[in-house]
């Protein structure tokens, strides 16, 4: 799915961080924040602006788990599977969410681009285990039922 991309957010980031190799990660983070993933067009654009090979930028972007090359949903649901959450049964939450949204380990994002479900190794919210994070908000002590309810609540909002 190719779309016209507005690069002004990149120009702004380059202006702030400088058009140098060392600014690359900061600029990519800004891009990820804005587009919710890193569209392919961003790589060629940055390669030219930062005078870096596209392959180098691709290397950096694929090295870090935090960068995504695939389009993500409006709501990114991160199910914590760190040790504390895992022993307090985070996997059933993950399974319930996937079942509810028709997703799997391979298919992480719904076709309507509303939801992405993924796991993280630790959210740092162990006292609230099992925890789920939706975009930047933490939801503590979840169960499969409350997780599904949360999804439905978000669906209704739209």
């Amino acid at each position: 799915m190719k779309q016209k991309i507005d690069f002004s957010v990149l120009d702004q980031a380059i202006k702030e961080y400088g058009n140098e190799e060392k600014s690359l990660i900061a600029i990519l983070q800004r891009a990820q924040e804005h587009y919710r993933y890193l569209p392919e067009e961003v790589f060629a654009y940055l390669a030219e602006k930062l005078n870096l090979p596209e392959a180098r930028i691709y290397g950096v972007a694929t090295f870090y788990e935090n960068f995504s090359l695939e389009q993500k949903g409006k709501y990114v649901v991160k199910v914590c599977d760190g040790t504390a959450c895992h022993v307090r049964k985070s996997i059933p939450i993950l399974e319930a969410l996937r079942k509810e949204l028709g997703l799997s380990e391979q298919k992480k994002t719904t076709d309507d681009l509303m939801f992405t479900v993924e796991t993280v190794s630790c959210l740092g919210a162990c006292s609230s285990a099992p925890a789920v994070m939706v975009n930047d908000e933490i939801y503590p002590t979840m169960t499969p039922e409350t997780a599904v309810a949360l999804i439905n609540e978000l669906k209704e909002k739209n």
Binding site: E40, F43, A47, L52, P53, E54, A55, R56, I57, Y58, G59, T62, F63, Y64
Partner: protein, 562 residues
Amino acid sequence: MDKKKYMTVDGVPVEINGEKNLLEIIRKVGIEMPTFCYYSELSVYGACRMCMVENEWGGFEASCSTPPREGMNIKTNTEKLRKYRKNILELLLANHCRDCTTCEKNNDCKLQALARKFKIEGVRFPNTASKAERDQSSPCIVKDQSKCILCGDCVRVCNEVQNVGAIDFAHRGSKMTISTAFDRPLAQSPCVGCGQCVAVCPTGALILNSEAEVIWKALHDKELKTTVQIAPAVRVAIGKELGFKEGENAMGKIVAALRLMGFDEIYDTSLAADLTVLEETNEFIDRLNNGGKLPLMTSCCPGWIQYAEKKHPELLENISTCRSPMQMMASIVKAQAREKDEKHFHVAIMPCTSKKFEAIREEFTVDGQRNVDAVLTTKGLIRMIQEAGIKFSEIEPEAIDMPFSTISGAGVIFGVTGGVTEAVLRRVSSNKNRAELVTLANVGQRGEEGIKEFDLPFGERTLKIVVCSGLGNAEKVIKRMEAGEHFDFVEVMACPGGCVNGGGQPFAVREEKSKRSKGLYDTDRLLSIRRAEDNPILNELYNGVLKDKVHELLHVHYGKHK
């Protein structure tokens, strides 16, 4: 004077004399360390861990990345180290395609050689190599990730030396690969096909695309007339693997071998290089006198042409319209064949991988037929000679066929950086006596430096000339041009040192490479014709096949491959 500094290697005291790292110190004792990722021309990466040494406290240090210190006491071969190295090799093999017998690099593979040296008799771990998926999109280079050991040599040569940056590391941990951006096929990447990555790859992960089968087929076809041209740099690089000395001119033997293989006629590309000299000089003088675009940049190197097309299209007007010597030769050969209406297969033997791309460019096809039907690299030629069972050291040398046999020294030195410039200078200079040749040899274009620049008086003006080799060095010169510096003539060769070190040449270390350049200069000195314009064949060509067709057959405008 400073007191001499010493350290100890395997109990032997060694003087420290400005060596960069322990590897160089260890070499002084007569020990060659095993390495995968170390090349003196590249930055130190320290990835393969094969060159570990043990210090006096039993700790390990990587000798490639550790500078020597006074009083250091290291051992290069201990029980612990042997076990450690064998472990690395076993782990590499566990993640490696092990179909050695059908691998292009069989017997020429560093991993295979070290596995044998360290007597790896079995691998304890299950094989996790990815399935072989060959990227054959490029006409020049074939990439096979299942044979990659992630030493990063290719990435560094592509980025640091060539400034191309077609490939880099991608992904992380066990999923790490060498990849183009988005794992696109090489043909769709910024790759210019120079083959320097193939030259440094220790395994079969990056190999040359071979056209040997097509050539054999043509040779076996009795209906076809098969002709072949041999580039200058081939003759001084082929010998070592076939029992000659590095840099020794083996042209006579090559000709004899090609005849045995079945080629009908054999020509020397140096003759076409003489044509290039005349055409390029005319163009240069025309631009100087008539306010044309300067600097004039050379056009013989297809790696450079692709680099300019992909990265600096604004420079295409600076690039000479002369076809490369390979294409000049081929267009003449094919024009004559068309006149006679004969079925003709023309092969070019080149030190170069990028020529394989040049050969398929549509600018060099006539009615859909390629002028050069196949390109064979020096390495490929060695393979074919071996396959045919020809005993290279025993066959009697033979001479090139008429009419493309008479060559000048100017054409021969095209194979080394500065050669094109020197050949043009010989033509431009109004002084035609022998002593002038010696003077012109020493104005600054010779030598192995990546960028050589000098001023030369010419009539009432002073010419500013730059000779660069290695695309990274070309980029430095281009940056200076962008900053406003003026040059009149810029020679660019994509491979460091020129064609003698092309991606299609057998691997050589630095000292061996300079022997190849010397071999070409020696050949030049021994020829009775030293200037391109003195080559009598050229007149025949200009009055014959080239009559009214100089532009059509010898010139080209690039810019189609962006």
